[in-house]
């Protein structure tokens, strides 16, 4: 306990998140569904509120003061994100609707430009449906082939199998940085290097990584990196697609509309420059501002502190949950983020989820949008607790007791 207070002042942090003080089913809320979405600090809520109260106006096209102010604020938000992931240029930050939006953009635009019949796209067994289906769609359209890197029983990416799949035919590799179901942290730097040696591009799904660990896109040297605002204290409906300037410039636009054009005639339209070329239509302006506020909050807490503290929570929870009889942790990678997926033999995850919800504990149950991964483990789903830096060991105790009670009822 003493040690954890040294890393972060949790009491103070918790006070910044209004929702954490509410009750659910008559019990204090224990929110362990951070993998699905994180809660929002007052700063982010205030930015959203203030925007609609005082600042609302459309960006990039207004002559009036409000529009100019909104444009400046939105473009400043882009700079905040750029700095956060250490991108080389601000125009390499494409505002999207979220990770799914970013991956679909790349699959579609990259696919149109680079994929031909017989080309190969590599993903892994642990991908979220968002990093499977867009590739299936474009592969089908282009006659390309989707290859899948298997994992071991601990839920780790099999590098030697990846080596075998990589070839001159590989055009792009799309893998997750952190598995939403298993918590596995993939060795993405090595994955990227190896792909580049074969001349393939790489997209990293960073939805579960950016909220929990320092991401430096230049150091990783990835070609694309996609993530969501709402999993990292920001609002829903906004995300970022990072892309290297030289790669993005080669891609055709994703959607047509306002803001993405330079000039339009009925004969020919010329497209705007980066990043606007990929940002058709009025964007989620307040989402962008909220995301920047979320990043500023994370910066103040310190991403290294967040990572260290969450690691402590995960270690504690892992030890505690193993005390429950016939429990099986799904995902035991050596490198893991704060995700604890489990099944209890003789019970169904959804039953556990429903009962502990009555005790105020929010977790996720089901296949977590990773059906192929569930098939790999031959289970219908898991119960998943995912921690954030505003959670505590006391909450983990409540959660463990709740699971114990549920298991007792169910057996």
């Amino acid at each position: 306990m003493i040690q954890e207070k040294q890393i972060l002042n949790i009491e103070k942090i918790r006070a910044d998140f209004p929702i954490l003080s509410r009750q659910v089913n008559g019990k204090p809320l224990v929110y362990f569904d951070n993998g699905a979405t994180s809660q929002k600090p007052q700063e982010v809520i205030d930015v959203i509120d203030r925007y609609y109260q005082n600042e609302n106006s459309n960006i990039h096209r207004g002559i009036h003061t409000l529009s100019q102010e909104a444009t400046t604020a939105y473009e400043e938000a882009r700079l905040v994100v750029q700095k956060f992931i250490n991108a080389k240029h601000e125009h390499e930050m494409i505002f999207t609707s979220g990770t799914t939006g970013g991956i679909n953009l790349v699959a579609s635009s990259f696919g149109k430009k680079f994929l031909n019949k017989g080309d190969e796209v590599i993903i892994s067994t642990m991908e979220h449906h968002s990093n499977i289906v867009p590739w299936q769609m474009i592969c089908e359209e282009k006659g390309a082939v989707l290859k899948v890197v298997p994992i071991n029983d601990k839920g780790e990416f099999l590098m030697e199998e990846y080596d075998k799949l990589l070839s001159e035919n590989t055009k792009i590799v799309a893998v997750t940085h952190v598995s939403n179901t298993l918590g596995t942290i993939n060795p993405v730097k090595e994955i990227i290097q190896k792909a580049h040696q074969k001349g393939a591009y790489v997209l990293i799904d960073g939805a579960q990584a950016v909220p929990h660990t320092k991401v430096d896109v230049q150091e990783l040297d990835c070609d694309f990196y996609a993530f969501s605002g709402h999993k990292m204290l920001g609002p829903t409906g906004v995300g970022i697609l990072y892309g290297k300037e030289e790669v993005l410039n080669q891609l055709p636009p994703y959607q047509g509309g306002g803001d993405m054009i330079k000039t339009v005639t009925f004969e020919k339209t010329t497209y705007n420059e980066l990043p606007h070329k990929f940002e058709a239509g009025t964007p989620n302006i307040v989402g962008g501002l909220g995301l920047a506020a979320a990043i500023q909050y994370m910066n103040e807490v310190g991403i290294e502190n967040i990572e260290a503290y969450e690691h402590e929570l995960l270690s504690y929870a892992t030890v505690q949950i193993k005390k429950i009889e016939r429990i099986r942790i799904i995902g035991e990678a050596t490198q893991k983020a704060s995700v604890l997926s489990f099944v209890v033999d003789g019970t169904h995850p959804s039953d556990i989820g429903m009962i502990i919800d009555k005790l105020g504990v929010a977790i996720r149950t089901g296949h977590h949008c990773t059906e192929p991964l569930m098939n790999r483990f031959n289970i219908p789903g898991t119960a998943r607790a995912s921690f954030s830096f505003y959670n505590t060991k006391e909450e983990i105790d409540v959660f463990i007791q709740a699971v114990e009670r549920a298991v007792k009822m169910l057996r």
Partner: protein, 142 residues
Amino acid sequence: MNSIKEIQEEIVEEFAMFDEWMDKYEHIIELGKELPLIEEQYKTDENLIKGCQSRVWLHAEMQDDNIVFTADSDAIITKGIIALMIRTFSNQTPKDIAEANVDFIDKIGLKEHLSPTRSNGLLSMVKQIKMYAIAFSVQSNS
């Protein structure tokens, strides 16, 4: 045989004695454990109603003038609620089932289990029961 309405009233009365959610859930779990409701041969993909959270199998056949439902689920709470559904709808005429109003789930405080967000297959199951009723009544009329 009691009518669908009477059975639903019975269930509501039965659940009225539970004050605590815990007792209510324990009762449902017991109901769930008392089954199997379906013969293994009917646990086919055709009879599968796939929810995001849990799976439900539903089989229907005509016996004399009534539809007999058998069902199962891999999740025990869902299975307990299914047991209540079967009690309500099985051995009733297609016409009565098609016209029935399902309100006992709401009345016993388990409404959330029939919400689309639960995605446990129960809502689809109710729809499927009604579909069978309509299909069988068309058959018997023709």
